[in-house]
Assembly symmetry: C2
């Protein structure tokens, strides 16, 4: 088996976040479902952008945020995702490269612009997302390099990729290659609406193609059509090596062959400012811990700590030196 | 005299800030003068950007920040400044428009890209700026519309405009038009290095062309070549209707025909995170107060309060609802 060059290879939509404050009335008047992620076309993206307040731009994307967190913790990461050769694409590449992440996929020089996500943060710190996928729609099987996948200890995939058929094919190829190379495959469910859209395919995938499953309470409930989070988590644990469910202020649970661990939310959070990226950074902490062979409870603690840093400021990616923060 | 349509018309460099954390060693190894603003070319901009950490992008520019603050306080503002028709230019226009500011100048469709400022924030919350002026170099006399200037109660100009000869001509034209229309002209000195670069011209300008002068301690000292801030402020007061000097943690002083007022720094600041924009937002508070005919001490208090909001977060522009914050 070839040596491991990367602790984690993340594959996801490469999206620049445009973050603004808004009140609940703004969400209602524009027909948004609070807390969710809606896919929007270019025309609606322009309408919403024109209506929303002054923005703050920063690189985002679920798997992109996670790999940024892994790198900030000291792990070695790679990223596969698609941007255009435009200003936002340059920003996206810079922000990963600056953390030492190898952003593998070259920018495309034609077609839709780099993806952006209009993120509205309400006074309760909840975030509601509207994503124009743009260049991400070009992600396809050909972007998955077998040697790269084989060189990563864990290949981490976001469920959002299932919203685009070519990206879904890329997802399946990466998962198959990783397992074929004796590596681990991790999946985050991304969003409960995403789970509803692709429930049967997710269930099929989890049964034999995924080693590590990340979800929040809503997502795991949606997956098994039950209100009982514990039951849903137990069911998932029957199919994967490790399942972990984040529970907001209640922390997270993790189940592997050794049993169940419950980890409290970070005590370092003094004020919840913006929940964007909390789940992504939780995954970063857990993946980093797994890559270092740490005990399950310690992996969960790292996840909650990284998530705690993320919710203390506007924007998803770490602003503090995460290693010092921990 | 035509009616006043705008409380303040701001004229300045339209710049998107790219903000990253850095330590003092980074500044030293790249030959930066801490706390200053350096003009850089495209090649150095690329080198520095490649070397700096993950960024956070938001609209900036000194006068742009100020007019954003005026609008956030409830004033009616207009802005003249130059961007390209590119992604950063669109962001710049959106962020002012979203606050109700009329961004008058159309984007140019050729030439250099929209300006960006690489802002390094050190652990002591000081900011060090590296500005690639790009499209701003195209600002010229033709961009100054006499009717617009005449419709603004105060025309506010940033000293940075003096770094570009065509912009300097635009500056002089705007000041002349405003005074000719019976309006007030305000100038911010921008930066002590900028004062050193243009000292004689600034002295000449202040003598008969400026009504309201904004400076910090270093700038007013540089202008008069003295270490004594009080003496320098008194000298300036002999030439303008109102001079106000910001003093960091010591608040600000204001001198007009009625005498001198000293205002303490905002007591609402619990942690200084990033001083970027403190002076710009101080100016916003004072200008808003003047536009409402408030007493001098109240103008100063508004300025210190707005500055206090700005230094409590990363980035220059208001993140809180400034009216609620006050």
């Amino acid at each position: 088996m070839q040596p491991i060059s990367y602790d984690v290879l993340a594959i996801g939509n490469a999206i620049v976040d445009v973050i603004a404050h808004a009140d609940d009335g703004f969400l209602a008047s524009h027909g948004m479902t609070k807390g969710g992620m809606a896919l929007i076309g270019e025309a609606r993206a322009e309408t919403l952008y024109a209506a929303m307040g002054p923005g703050l731009e920063m690189s985002g994307g679920s798997a992109g945020n996670t790999i940024a967190g892994v790198a900030a913790l000291g792990g070695k990461g790679a990223f596969i995702g698609k941007v255009r050769d435009d200003a936002l694409g340059d920003i996206y590449r810079h922000d990963l490269s600056a953390l030492g992440v190898d952003f593998i996929t070259p920018a495309v020089s034609a077609g839709a612009a780099t993806a952006r996500c209009l993120v509205l943060v309400t006074p309760d710190a909840e975030r509601t997302m509207n994503t124009f996928l743009g260049a991400c729609t070009g992600l396809e099987e050909a972007d998955i390099d077998p040697a790269l996948v084989a060189s990563a200890g864990i290949t981490y995939l976001e469920g959002y990729l299932f919203d685009l058929p070519p990206a879904k094919q890329a997802f399946r190829k990466a998962a198959t290659l990783a397992r074929g190379a004796g590596r681990k495959v991790a999946l985050t469910m991304s969003d409960s609406f995403c789970v509803h859209r692709h429930r049967d395919e997710f269930l099929d995938l989890i049964d034999g193609h995924i080693d590590i499953l990340f979800a929040n309470e809503e997502e795991i409930r949606a997956l098994y059509g039950t209100d009982d989070v514990d039951e849903a988590a137990r069911r998932a644990a029957g199919h994967v090596e490790l399942v972990t469910v984040t529970r907001g202020g209640a922390g997270a649970l993790l189940i592997d062959a050794g049993g169940r661990v419950d980890v409290p939310a970070s005590g370092a959070v003094t004020e919840v400012v913006d929940t964007t990226g909390a789940g992504d950074l939780y995954a970063a902490g857990v993946l980093y811990g797994l890559s270092r062979g740490l005990p399950l409870a310690e992996c969960g603690r790292l996840g909650c700590a990284a998530a705690g840093e993320a919710i203390g400021h506007v924007g998803a990616r770490p602003q503090a030196d995460l290693r010092a923060f921990l």
